[in-house]
Subunit: 109 residues, 2 copies
DNA sequence: CCAACTATTCAGTGTTACTATGTACTAGTA
DNA sequence: TACTAGTACATAGTAACACTGAATAGTTGG
C-alpha cells in the first residue's frame, strides 16, 4: 500500500472515525490503536488527533475529559446528532463513489 | 455531495482516470465530459488536465497529439505497461479500503 | 533514575482537487 | 467584419487533509 492509501484516506478517514464513534464513544489513542490492528498499520498518531480536533470544531462530536488509570487524562469523543447526520451524508457519498468504481472495474474485464 | 466528494476524490480520481484509459485511449476534454455524464457533475476542467500531466510525468501513460476537426489538437493518452501495473496496485488498495468501510457500515446496524 | 507505555498537541511539508483565468482553433451568424 | 459558442488545453493561486517529527505529561517497573 503506502502512498496510494494515504491519498485515498483523504476524505474517507474522517468517515471511518465517525463510523467508529457511531459504534461507541472513544478517545484518540484508542482509535489509533484500533485502526492499526485493522490493517491501517501506517496511520500516524498525529493524523487522528488532528482529525478529532477538526470534527470537534465542526460540532460533530461531544467531548468529555476522563481520567486514565495510566497516563494523562483521555479526551473521550462521542457522536452527536449533527455528527450522525454528517455520517449519513458520508455513507451516501461513499456509496456513489463506490458504485462508479465498481462499474469501472467490471467494465475493464 | 459537494465537499465530501471533493475530498474523497483525492487519490481515487487518479484511479478512475487510469481505469477509463485502460478501457480505451482518450483525451482530456473527452474524459471530463464523460465523467460529467456519469454523475461527477462538478468535476472541474482544470482538475483533469492537471491530473493527466501528472500521470504523464510519472510515466504511466503514452501521449499522442492528434488533430481535431473542430478546435485545437487533442492530446490522446493511452495506458502503458507501467500504468497498467499502477492500476493493479490501485485496485488492491481500493479493495482493502472498500472492505474496511463495508465492515464498519454493517457493524453499525 | 531511566525506559517503556499511555495520551495529547502542534509546527511544517507534500499532495491533490478546485477556482479562475487565459490561450487557441473552428463554425455559425448577424 | 465582429461576435458568439463550442472544442481543447494550460496554469497560477488556494484550501483541505494526511504525514513527519518532535515535544509534553502522567504512570509503572527494572
Amino acid at each position: 500500500m503506502g502512498k496510494q492509501l494515504t491519498e485515498m484516506l483523504k476524505g474517507t478517514l474522517e468517515g471511518i472515525v465517525l463510523a467508529i464513534l457511531a459504534g461507541k464513544a472513544a478517545y484518540g489513542y484508542e482509535i489509533t490503536a484500533g485502526l492499526r490492528e485493522n490493517g491501517f498499520t501506517d496511520i500516524a498518531e498525529g493524523t487522528v488527533y488532528a482529525l478529532l480536533i477538526r470534527i470537534e470544531h465542526r460540532g460533530l462530536v461531544d467531548v468529555e475529559k476522563v481520567p486514565s488509570e495510566k497516563g494523562p487524562p483521555r479526551k473521550v469523543y462521542s457522536l452527536n446528532t449533527a455528527g450522525r447526520e454528517y455520517l449519513e451524508e458520508f455513507w451516501k457519498t461513499w456509496s456513489f463513489l463506490s458504485e462508479q468504481l465498481e462499474r469501472l472495474r467490471e467494465g475493464d474485464e
